[in-house]
Protein backbone atom coordinates (compact mmCIF):
# COMPACT_ATOMS: atom_id res chain seq x y z
CA UNK A 1 0.00 0.00 0.00
CA UNK A 2 1.77 3.15 -1.14
CA UNK A 3 0.92 6.12 0.95
CA UNK A 4 1.62 9.08 -1.35
CA UNK A 5 -0.96 8.04 -3.92
CA UNK A 6 -4.35 9.42 -4.95
CA UNK A 7 -6.65 9.62 -2.89
CA UNK A 8 -4.16 11.84 -1.02
CA UNK A 9 -3.52 11.69 2.66
CA UNK A 10 -4.91 14.92 4.02
CA UNK A 11 -4.69 16.24 7.57
CA UNK A 12 -8.34 15.24 7.91
CA UNK A 13 -7.83 11.54 7.37
CA UNK A 14 -4.36 11.03 8.83
CA UNK A 15 -5.94 9.44 11.90
CA UNK A 16 -7.46 6.67 9.78
CA UNK A 17 -4.62 6.28 7.35
CA UNK A 18 -1.79 3.78 7.11
CA UNK A 19 1.32 5.23 8.77
CA UNK A 20 3.99 2.82 7.54
CA UNK A 21 6.33 4.58 5.13
CA UNK A 22 5.82 8.15 6.33
CA UNK A 23 8.66 10.37 7.51
CA UNK A 24 8.26 11.29 11.14
CA UNK A 25 9.98 13.32 13.83
CA UNK A 26 9.26 13.26 17.55
CA UNK A 27 8.73 16.76 18.98
CA UNK A 28 7.91 16.13 22.64
CA UNK A 29 7.83 13.04 24.82
CA UNK A 30 7.65 12.24 28.48
CA UNK A 31 10.84 10.22 28.05
CA UNK A 32 13.54 12.81 27.24
CA UNK A 33 15.74 10.39 25.34
CA UNK A 34 13.03 10.04 22.66
CA UNK A 35 12.87 13.73 21.77
CA UNK A 36 14.33 14.64 18.38
CA UNK A 37 14.34 11.19 16.80
CA UNK A 38 13.88 11.49 13.03
CA UNK A 39 13.19 8.63 10.72
CA UNK A 40 10.70 6.54 8.83
CA UNK A 41 7.89 4.39 10.24
CA UNK A 42 8.59 0.71 9.61
CA UNK A 43 6.03 -1.15 11.71
CA UNK A 44 2.99 -0.42 13.79
CA UNK A 45 1.26 -2.29 16.60
CA UNK A 46 -1.65 -1.34 18.86
CA UNK A 47 0.37 0.91 21.19
CA UNK A 48 3.75 1.48 19.53
CA UNK A 49 5.45 2.67 16.36
CA UNK A 50 8.76 1.23 15.18
CA UNK A 51 10.85 4.03 13.67
CA UNK A 52 14.04 3.44 11.69
CA UNK A 53 16.52 6.26 12.11
CA UNK A 54 18.69 7.53 9.27
CA UNK A 55 21.74 5.81 10.67
CA UNK A 56 20.08 2.40 10.46
CA UNK A 57 18.97 1.73 14.05
CA UNK A 58 15.39 0.87 14.89
CA UNK A 59 13.61 2.42 17.87
CA UNK A 60 10.33 1.24 19.39
CA UNK A 61 8.31 4.26 20.56
CA UNK A 62 5.04 3.98 22.56
CA UNK A 63 2.27 6.08 20.99
CA UNK A 64 0.56 7.67 23.95
CA UNK A 65 3.54 9.46 25.47
CA UNK A 66 4.76 11.43 22.45
CA UNK A 67 3.81 14.14 19.97
CA UNK A 68 4.68 13.24 16.37
CA UNK A 69 5.23 15.39 13.28
CA UNK A 70 4.46 13.60 10.00
CA UNK A 71 5.45 14.81 6.53
CA UNK A 72 2.69 14.71 3.90
CA UNK A 73 3.82 15.98 0.53
CA UNK A 74 5.07 19.47 1.26
CA UNK A 75 3.24 20.08 4.55
CA UNK A 76 3.96 18.95 8.08
CA UNK A 77 1.23 17.77 10.42
CA UNK A 78 1.64 17.63 14.18
CA UNK A 79 -0.40 14.87 15.87
CA UNK A 80 -0.74 13.97 19.53
CA UNK A 81 0.09 10.28 19.94
CA UNK A 82 -2.89 9.26 22.05
CA UNK A 83 -5.19 9.81 19.07
CA UNK A 84 -3.35 7.13 17.06
CA UNK A 85 -3.89 4.26 19.49
CA UNK A 86 -5.29 1.13 17.87
CA UNK A 87 -4.17 -1.51 15.41
CA UNK A 88 -4.06 -0.16 11.84
CA UNK A 89 -6.94 -2.36 10.72
CA UNK A 90 -9.09 -1.20 13.67
CA UNK A 91 -8.22 2.44 13.07
CA UNK A 92 -9.33 2.15 9.47
CA UNK A 93 -12.89 1.30 10.33
CA UNK A 94 -13.83 4.46 12.23
CA UNK A 95 -12.18 4.44 15.64
CA UNK A 96 -12.10 8.18 16.34
CA UNK A 97 -11.19 9.11 19.90
CA UNK A 98 -12.02 12.46 21.51
CA UNK A 99 -9.46 13.80 23.98
CA UNK A 100 -9.61 17.04 25.97
CA UNK A 101 -6.89 19.03 27.73
CA UNK A 102 -8.94 19.46 30.94
Amino acid sequence: MRSDDAPMITPQNILRHELIGLDVEILEASNPSLVGIKGRVVDETRNTLVIEKYDGREVVVPKDVAVFKFKLGDKYVKVIGSLLIGRPEDRLKKKIKNIYPY
Partner: protein, 233 residues
Amino acid sequence: MENPVDINHIFEEEGIKLLKELGWYGSIVVQYSDNYSKEIFDKVKEYGEKIGLKIYTGVKIRCESPRELIKQVKRFRNRIDVILVEGGNLKINRQALELHDVDILSTPELNRRDSGIDHVLAKLGSTYRVAIELNFKQLLIRKNLYERARLLWAFRRNMKLAKKFDTPVVLSSGAESIYDIKSPYDLRSFLNTLTGDPLYSKTVMELPYKIAEYRAYLRRENVVRYGVEVVEE
Protein backbone atom coordinates in the same frame (compact mmCIF):
# COMPACT_ATOMS: atom_id res chain seq x y z
CA MET B 1 -4.12 31.49 40.93
CA GLU B 2 -3.14 32.11 37.33
CA ASN B 3 -5.39 34.02 34.95
CA PRO B 4 -8.83 33.97 36.58
CA VAL B 5 -11.63 34.39 34.00
CA ASP B 6 -15.19 35.40 34.87
CA ILE B 7 -18.52 34.63 33.15
CA ASN B 8 -20.99 37.52 33.19
CA HIS B 9 -23.43 39.77 31.30
CA ILE B 10 -21.51 43.05 31.59
CA PHE B 11 -21.57 45.21 28.46
CA GLU B 12 -20.65 48.70 29.74
CA GLU B 13 -17.27 50.36 30.01
CA GLU B 14 -17.58 51.15 33.73
CA GLY B 15 -18.13 47.48 34.56
CA ILE B 16 -15.15 46.35 32.50
CA LYS B 17 -12.96 48.90 34.28
CA LEU B 18 -14.04 47.57 37.68
CA LEU B 19 -13.37 43.97 36.57
CA LYS B 20 -9.81 44.86 35.60
CA GLU B 21 -9.26 46.76 38.86
CA LEU B 22 -10.29 43.76 40.99
CA GLY B 23 -7.73 41.48 39.33
CA TRP B 24 -9.54 39.42 36.67
CA TYR B 25 -7.43 38.36 33.67
CA GLY B 26 -10.33 37.93 31.24
CA SER B 27 -14.08 37.68 31.01
CA ILE B 28 -16.54 35.57 28.99
CA VAL B 29 -19.35 37.94 27.97
CA VAL B 30 -22.60 36.03 27.61
CA GLN B 31 -25.80 36.94 25.76
CA TYR B 32 -29.07 35.07 25.75
CA SER B 33 -29.99 33.26 22.55
CA ASP B 34 -33.40 34.99 22.25
CA ASN B 35 -32.14 38.50 21.58
CA TYR B 36 -28.67 38.03 20.17
CA SER B 37 -26.89 40.91 18.45
CA LYS B 38 -23.34 40.99 17.10
CA GLU B 39 -22.73 44.73 17.65
CA ILE B 40 -22.70 44.40 21.41
CA PHE B 41 -19.86 41.87 21.20
CA ASP B 42 -17.80 44.17 18.96
CA LYS B 43 -18.27 47.10 21.34
CA VAL B 44 -17.28 45.05 24.39
CA LYS B 45 -14.15 43.73 22.62
CA GLU B 46 -13.15 47.34 21.92
CA TYR B 47 -13.51 48.34 25.60
CA GLY B 48 -11.57 45.23 26.62
CA GLU B 49 -8.64 46.00 24.35
CA LYS B 50 -8.50 49.61 25.55
CA ILE B 51 -8.30 48.59 29.21
CA GLY B 52 -6.29 45.39 28.90
CA LEU B 53 -8.85 42.68 29.75
CA LYS B 54 -9.18 39.64 27.48
CA ILE B 55 -12.74 39.16 26.21
CA TYR B 56 -14.26 35.88 25.00
CA THR B 57 -17.74 35.60 23.51
CA GLY B 58 -20.46 33.30 24.81
CA VAL B 59 -24.12 32.46 24.27
CA LYS B 60 -26.65 31.05 26.76
CA ILE B 61 -29.25 28.87 25.10
CA ARG B 62 -32.78 28.58 26.47
CA CYS B 63 -35.23 26.18 24.88
CA GLU B 64 -38.15 23.86 25.53
CA SER B 65 -37.23 20.52 24.01
CA PRO B 66 -34.04 18.52 23.39
CA ARG B 67 -34.42 18.55 19.59
CA GLU B 68 -34.63 22.33 19.51
CA LEU B 69 -31.46 22.40 21.66
CA ILE B 70 -29.50 20.41 19.05
CA LYS B 71 -30.65 22.81 16.30
CA GLN B 72 -29.66 25.91 18.26
CA VAL B 73 -26.24 24.47 19.18
CA LYS B 74 -25.51 23.77 15.51
CA ARG B 75 -26.52 27.33 14.67
CA PHE B 76 -24.12 28.99 17.11
CA ARG B 77 -21.16 26.61 17.22
CA ASN B 78 -19.05 28.13 14.46
CA ARG B 79 -19.51 31.77 15.42
CA ILE B 80 -19.08 31.79 19.21
CA ASP B 81 -16.30 30.71 21.57
CA VAL B 82 -18.23 29.24 24.51
CA ILE B 83 -21.75 27.76 24.62
CA LEU B 84 -23.81 27.58 27.83
CA VAL B 85 -27.16 25.87 28.31
CA GLU B 86 -29.72 26.88 30.91
CA GLY B 87 -30.76 23.75 32.80
CA GLY B 88 -33.74 22.97 35.00
CA ASN B 89 -35.67 20.47 32.92
CA LEU B 90 -34.38 16.89 33.33
CA LYS B 91 -34.62 16.06 29.61
CA ILE B 92 -32.68 19.18 28.63
CA ASN B 93 -30.07 18.52 31.33
CA ARG B 94 -29.48 15.04 29.97
CA GLN B 95 -29.33 16.11 26.32
CA ALA B 96 -26.93 18.96 27.11
CA LEU B 97 -24.60 16.68 29.07
CA GLU B 98 -24.46 14.22 26.17
CA LEU B 99 -23.45 16.69 23.44
CA HIS B 100 -19.73 17.26 23.45
CA ASP B 101 -20.25 20.56 21.58
CA VAL B 102 -21.78 22.15 24.68
CA ASP B 103 -19.22 23.54 27.13
CA ILE B 104 -21.10 24.45 30.29
CA LEU B 105 -24.49 23.58 31.81
CA SER B 106 -25.74 26.42 34.05
CA THR B 107 -28.08 26.25 37.05
CA PRO B 108 -29.25 22.65 36.98
CA GLU B 109 -31.40 23.39 40.05
CA LEU B 110 -33.49 26.26 38.62
CA ASN B 111 -37.24 25.84 39.34
CA ARG B 112 -36.73 22.43 40.92
CA ARG B 113 -37.19 21.07 44.42
CA ASP B 114 -34.18 18.75 44.23
CA SER B 115 -30.61 19.54 43.31
CA GLY B 116 -30.76 18.73 39.60
CA ILE B 117 -27.80 16.38 39.11
CA ASP B 118 -27.54 12.73 40.11
CA HIS B 119 -24.71 10.26 39.77
CA VAL B 120 -25.73 9.11 36.26
CA LEU B 121 -25.65 12.68 34.92
CA ALA B 122 -22.33 13.38 36.67
CA LYS B 123 -20.76 10.36 34.97
CA LEU B 124 -22.06 11.58 31.58
CA GLY B 125 -20.64 15.04 32.19
CA SER B 126 -17.28 13.49 32.97
CA THR B 127 -17.02 11.44 29.77
CA TYR B 128 -18.22 14.23 27.46
CA ARG B 129 -16.35 16.94 29.42
CA VAL B 130 -19.29 19.28 29.99
CA ALA B 131 -18.84 21.51 33.03
CA ILE B 132 -21.47 22.27 35.69
CA GLU B 133 -21.83 25.95 36.56
CA LEU B 134 -22.65 27.30 40.03
CA ASN B 135 -24.18 30.71 39.42
CA PHE B 136 -23.62 33.26 42.21
CA LYS B 137 -26.27 35.68 40.94
CA GLN B 138 -29.02 33.21 41.88
CA LEU B 139 -27.92 33.55 45.50
CA LEU B 140 -28.27 37.34 45.40
CA ILE B 141 -31.67 37.28 43.67
CA ARG B 142 -33.44 35.22 46.35
CA LYS B 143 -34.57 37.41 49.22
CA ASN B 144 -36.03 34.67 51.40
CA LEU B 145 -33.30 33.34 53.72
CA TYR B 146 -34.51 29.71 53.56
CA GLU B 147 -34.35 29.79 49.74
CA ARG B 148 -30.73 30.91 49.97
CA ALA B 149 -29.93 28.05 52.34
CA ARG B 150 -31.60 25.55 49.99
CA LEU B 151 -29.55 26.87 47.08
CA LEU B 152 -26.33 26.43 49.08
CA TRP B 153 -27.40 22.86 49.84
CA ALA B 154 -27.83 22.23 46.09
CA PHE B 155 -24.35 23.70 45.43
CA ARG B 156 -22.78 21.45 48.04
CA ARG B 157 -24.45 18.31 46.69
CA ASN B 158 -23.50 19.02 43.07
CA MET B 159 -19.92 19.78 44.09
CA LYS B 160 -19.64 16.54 46.07
CA LEU B 161 -20.88 14.46 43.10
CA ALA B 162 -18.66 16.31 40.64
CA LYS B 163 -15.58 15.85 42.84
CA LYS B 164 -16.25 12.11 43.12
CA PHE B 165 -16.80 11.52 39.38
CA ASP B 166 -14.18 14.03 38.15
CA THR B 167 -16.67 16.29 36.34
CA PRO B 168 -15.41 19.82 35.64
CA VAL B 169 -17.02 22.55 37.79
CA VAL B 170 -17.14 26.30 37.17
CA LEU B 171 -18.11 29.14 39.56
CA SER B 172 -19.29 32.36 37.95
CA SER B 173 -20.48 35.67 39.32
CA GLY B 174 -23.20 36.06 36.67
CA ALA B 175 -23.09 39.82 37.07
CA GLU B 176 -25.64 41.98 35.25
CA SER B 177 -24.77 45.39 36.67
CA ILE B 178 -21.94 47.04 38.53
CA TYR B 179 -23.46 46.02 41.88
CA ASP B 180 -22.88 42.31 41.20
CA ILE B 181 -19.20 42.29 40.26
CA LYS B 182 -17.07 40.34 42.76
CA SER B 183 -13.32 39.87 43.02
CA PRO B 184 -11.73 36.46 42.20
CA TYR B 185 -10.22 36.02 45.67
CA ASP B 186 -13.64 36.55 47.25
CA LEU B 187 -15.20 33.81 45.12
CA ARG B 188 -12.33 31.51 45.99
CA SER B 189 -12.93 32.01 49.74
CA PHE B 190 -16.63 31.39 49.16
CA LEU B 191 -15.72 28.00 47.65
CA ASN B 192 -13.44 27.31 50.62
CA THR B 193 -16.38 27.73 52.97
CA LEU B 194 -18.58 25.37 50.94
CA THR B 195 -16.08 22.51 50.94
CA GLY B 196 -13.06 22.31 53.21
CA ASP B 197 -10.54 21.80 50.37
CA PRO B 198 -8.50 24.86 49.28
CA LEU B 199 -6.72 23.00 46.45
CA TYR B 200 -10.00 21.92 44.87
CA SER B 201 -11.33 25.49 44.90
CA LYS B 202 -8.15 26.61 43.13
CA THR B 203 -8.76 24.12 40.29
CA VAL B 204 -12.39 25.27 40.05
CA MET B 205 -11.37 28.91 39.64
CA GLU B 206 -8.79 28.08 36.94
CA LEU B 207 -11.18 26.11 34.74
CA PRO B 208 -12.92 28.86 32.65
CA TYR B 209 -9.51 29.95 31.34
CA LYS B 210 -8.78 26.41 30.13
CA ILE B 211 -12.19 26.07 28.47
CA ALA B 212 -11.92 29.42 26.67
CA GLU B 213 -8.35 28.75 25.49
CA TYR B 214 -9.32 25.26 24.24
CA ARG B 215 -12.18 26.66 22.18
CA ALA B 216 -10.12 29.57 20.86
CA TYR B 217 -7.41 27.03 19.87
CA LEU B 218 -9.93 24.95 17.93
CA ARG B 219 -11.06 27.98 15.91
CA ARG B 220 -7.59 28.63 14.54
CA GLU B 221 -7.19 27.88 10.84
CA ASN B 222 -4.47 25.27 10.94
CA VAL B 223 -6.22 23.07 13.50
CA VAL B 224 -8.33 20.19 12.21
CA ARG B 225 -9.34 18.48 15.50
CA TYR B 226 -7.79 18.56 18.90
CA GLY B 227 -4.28 17.19 18.50
CA VAL B 228 -3.92 17.60 14.76
CA GLU B 229 -2.27 20.73 13.41
CA VAL B 230 -0.73 21.78 10.11
CA VAL B 231 2.69 23.33 10.69
CA GLU B 232 4.82 25.14 8.11
CA GLU B 233 8.50 24.76 8.07
